[in-house]
């Protein structure tokens, strides 16, 4: 595989062909915040936290580094006024759902985000998709999935499959940034068993 030379935050970085900007940055010890990224899973591009500025043939644009491929001579800036503003807003929007999530609290400190900027929402889920994707791509059980769309989108355990598979697995529970995933599982289990026993 051929080597690609790009510039990240003023630093020369050597990347392998096929790497994303995020992978290239991490290989050079440059950190970019992420929420929905996981080495074992396909890039999702949902949280947009890893957004960076790239300069390509004179044009500056914002792209998500977990998906955008590392290209020869690309100039990348992982921090800027605009990038920081957008990351701050993303954190504040997510904290309306999960204000106590440790990852979000750390990010809030870093970016000066206000956890109470928005009124609290009923649902804890921040839609990072880690549970759904892990169960689909790694365990290949599809016991938990997304339902709905837009502002009504939610995650949902499929009772028939979850009741068989989940208790012996539970590998997705620690992945959840909000730590509320297991509550969702327990609730589903309770509803399903009460239904099937009646």
């Amino acid at each position: 595989m051929s080597e690609i030379l790009l510039q990240i935050d003023g630093k020369e970085v050597k990347a392998k062909e096929g790497m994303t900007i995020l992978e290239a940055a991490r290989s050079a010890g440059i950190s970019i915040p992420t929420l929905c990224h996981h080495e074992k899973l396909e890039p999702f591009g949902g949280c947009r936290l890893c957004i960076v500025e790239v300069e390509d043939r004179g044009w500056t644009k914002l792209v998500v580094s977990c998906v955008y491929p590392a290209e020869e001579n690309l100039v990348v800036r992982t921090r800027s006024d605009k990038v920081d503003r957008i990351r701050k807003m993303i954190i504040e929007l997510l904290m309306a759902h999960a204000p106590d999530a440790f990852e979000l609290q750390d990010l809030a400190k870093e970016y000066g985000a206000d956890r109470d900027r928005f009124e609290k929402e009923a649902s804890f889920c921040i839609h990072c998709g880690l549970c759904v994707r892990y169960c689909a791509e790694v365990k290949k059980k599809n016991a938990v999935g997304f339902v709905g769309r837009g502002t009504k989108k939610e995650i949902s355990f499929i009772p028939e499959i979850a009741s068989k598979e989940c208790w012996d697995c539970k590998e997705c529970f620690p992945l959840c940034p909000t730590e509320a995933l297991q509550a969702a599982y327990v609730l589903t289990k309770a509803l399903f068993s009460s239904r099937s026993s009646s």
Partner: protein
């Protein structure tokens, strides 16, 4: 029906059809598009068939049920040929007279003609009516002359001659060059040069390529693609086949929304008959080129109109858009090079190939060539589908063709580009329509929806409406769109309910930046446009809502009160009887008063108060006047001697 195997056979067959058609034989075309169907054109058709037999005219006059004519405000529409006499708002009861007077005696039925609202002049011929006169109906015009279920009708107007010319007389590269030269830009929203998109796919080494017709037409208020697909499906098939030839694709898809059952029906029939005649399938017209087309129905998701989401839906998944870092004309459907274009874009292609890029370029402006079909709807006298050359001033479309605002109300703005677009105010009405001109003004061309708004429309509510639409239609994958729009909707709803706060506008602007820069796809990136454009031109309305809890347009329910002016009320009891909340107190000769506590602000009283009284008024931003004393409520009858 034997297959047509060469251009020569096609010409022979075409001449065969034409020779059997007498241009002087009376023919009645009846608009049978979905909208006219909803106003009863089906019943008119039944009546025509019965009456023709009854009056002994069987075999003497043809009936042709065509697609949409475009003048939807005045449907159902009948045009008699060869005289081209146009009759509007036809009911089954009108049919006997049309047959006995116009067909038999060649006399015009005056009461069914178009009447000019200003001069009161009656106009007989379609082409002289202002609505049609100022249009240039290159693409849409054929709708009025063909039955979409008849491939022979399409052949009679030169259909599939472009395909014959291209497959058997031009190389694929020449076809591509002609489309490039024409500078045809996508008619679906993006306005991307079609030729350049095609070239990218053509040059890719991957042998399997796809072409797609995007007939998901999701912009509310836009229905030109529907009318084209319903009314002239073969023109789209021909265009699609030409595109497939140019890029080297052998498989095409038509993605049509299931909310358009007539379009689905007509396009499936068109594909079947095209296959029978040999215009689709193997070795088309003996050229050696193979091409098949499949129809895939949408299942009710606006986001599937976005090209990458559409491709994901074609693959049998939820319509979540993909990042466009690698363009879909290189990696699209099943990761293969895919050319996706809008219905109207494809419909232009046969014309360009037949008449040449130079012919096409004489229409339009430098940056936007050709014509565009707009759906002119909302607060407008002549609602309908309008095709004009690019560069036509907006005010001509709205006033000359559209007939202005009904009810004598004042124009306020025209919303273009659907939920991704913006509002153009009165001071910019001289703007000449074109892709770049509309974008510069803070809106965009979009698919061509043109919604006219008047003084009774609240612009804050317009922004709220579009954001609400998008919160439902967003796929929900990315934070800036799902969460950003969620919060924008809350804030805008609060503003329309009088709960707006200082800092709301600034927060909305911040959320807009996050969506524009951070969202995954064009839906999210353009979602803030309606808000930003209404803020740009109508900031005073936002401030009135927030600072003064007033709705200047007297529209937002929580900010208005209905008040009956005692000086004008004639105690006719109409509003009191119709009020669903029984909130109006009054009696015969007793001036009516609205009980503000019971009033649900439904607006019925405002609707039904006779115009000659006009006693019901709307108030905003000030307290409702106290009710007049009981004694003054009695309307005394004037004695004859007073």
């Amino acid at each position: 029906m034997p297959r047509i195997n060469s251009p020569a056979e096609l010409e022979e067959f075409r001449q065969g059809i034409l020779s059997k058609r007498d241009p002087n034989k009376p023919c009645i075309t009846l608009c049978s598009g979905s909208a006219c169907h909803a106003t009863g054109s089906g019943d008119v058709a039944d009546s025509l068939e019965k009456e023709i037999e009854k009056q002994g005219l069987s075999g003497e006059v043809d009936i042709r049920r065509t697609g949409c004519h475009g003048y939807c405000e005045r449907g159902p529409i009948i045009v008699t040929h060869p005289e081209e006499i146009s009759y509007f708002q036809i009911q089954p009861e009108d049919v006997p007279e049309i047959l006995s007077e116009t067909i038999k005696k060649k006399k015009v039925v005056e009461r069914l003609l178009y009447t000019d609202p200003g001069t009161k002049e009656k106009i007989v011929h379609e082409s002289e009516i202002p609505f049609y006169k100022h249009q240039e109906r290159l693409v849409f015009g054929s709708n009025g002359s063909i039955d979409p279920k008849s491939i022979d009708d399409y052949l009679a107007i030169d259909g599939y001659s472009a395909l014959a010319k291209a497959l058997c007389g031009m190389t694929d590269e020449q076809v591509l060059e002609e489309v490039k030269k024409s500078n045809l830009r996508g008619r679906g929203g993006g306005g991307f040069p079609a030729g350049r998109k095609w070239e990218g796919s053509r040059n890719d080494p991957e042998p399997i390529k796809y072409v797609i017709v995007n007939a998901d037409e999701g912009d509310p208020g836009a229905y030109m693609d529907r009318s084209l697909l319903e009314g002239n499906p073969h023109s789209i098939l021909e265009g699609l086949t030409l595109g497939a030839y140019a890029i080297g694709s052998h498989e095409g898809y038509i993605y049509v929304r299931q909310e358009y059952p007539l379009a689905v029906e007509n396009v499936l029939l068109a594909i079947k008959t095209a296959e029978e005649y040999g215009f689709l399938g193997k070795n088309i017209l003996g050229s050696g080129f193979d091409f098949i087309v499949k129809v895939h129905q949408g299942a009710g998701a606006f986001v599937c109109g976005e090209s990458t989401a559409l491709m994901t839906a074609l693959e049998g998944r939820v319509g979540e858009p993909r990042p466009k870092y690698t363009r879909s004309n290189i990696k699209g459907l099943w990761e293969k090079p895919t050319v996706l274009n809008n219905v109207e874009t494809w419909a232009n292609v046969p014309l360009i190939i037949n008449k040449g890029a130079d012919w096409f370029r004489q229409y339009g402006t430098e940056g936007s060539k050709g014509t565009k079909i707009f759906s002119l709807v909302g607060k407008i006298v002549n609602t309908g589908l309008v095709e004009v050359p690019m560069g036509t001033p907006l005010k001509d479309i709205i006033y000359k063709i559209g007939g202005g605002i009904p009810g004598g109300r004042k124009f306020k703005a025209v919303q273009t580009g659907g939920p991704s677009g913006g509002c153009i105010p009165e001071e910019l009405l001289d703007l000449e329509v074109g892709f770049d001109e509309l974008t510069k003004a803070g809106s965009m061309m979009g698919s061509g929806g043109m919604i006219v708004l008047d003084e009774d429309t609240c612009m804050v509510d317009v922004a709220r409406y579009f954001i609400e639409f998008l919160t439902d239609e967003s796929c929900g994958k990315c934070v800036p769109c799902r969460e950003g729009l969620r919060q924008m909707l809350k804030i805008l709803t609060n503003i329309t309910e009088g709960k707006g706060r200082e800092g709301d506008i600034e927060l909305l602007e911040e959320l807009s930046e996050t969506a524009k820069e951070g969202a995954l796809c064009a839906l999210g990136k353009s979602a803030p446009n309606p808000f930003l454009s209404t803020l740009r031109y109508f900031r005073d309305e936002y401030e009135a809502h927030i600072k003064d809890q007033t709705c200047p347009a007297l529209s937002c329910r929580d900010l208005i009160s209905f008040y009956i002016d005692p000086a004008k009320c004639k105690a006719c009891m109409i509003c009191a009887r119709k009020c669903p909340a029984k909130a109006i107190d009054g009696g015969k000769s007793k001036i009516h008063i609205v009980d503000q506590d019971k009033c649900t602000k439904c607006g019925t009283c405002f609707e039904v108060c006779p115009p000659r009284f006009g006693a019901v008024t709307k108030i905003s931003g000030e307290p409702v006047p106290s009710p007049i004393p009981e004694e003054e409520r009695i309307i005394k009858k004037r004695k004859k001697n007073e």
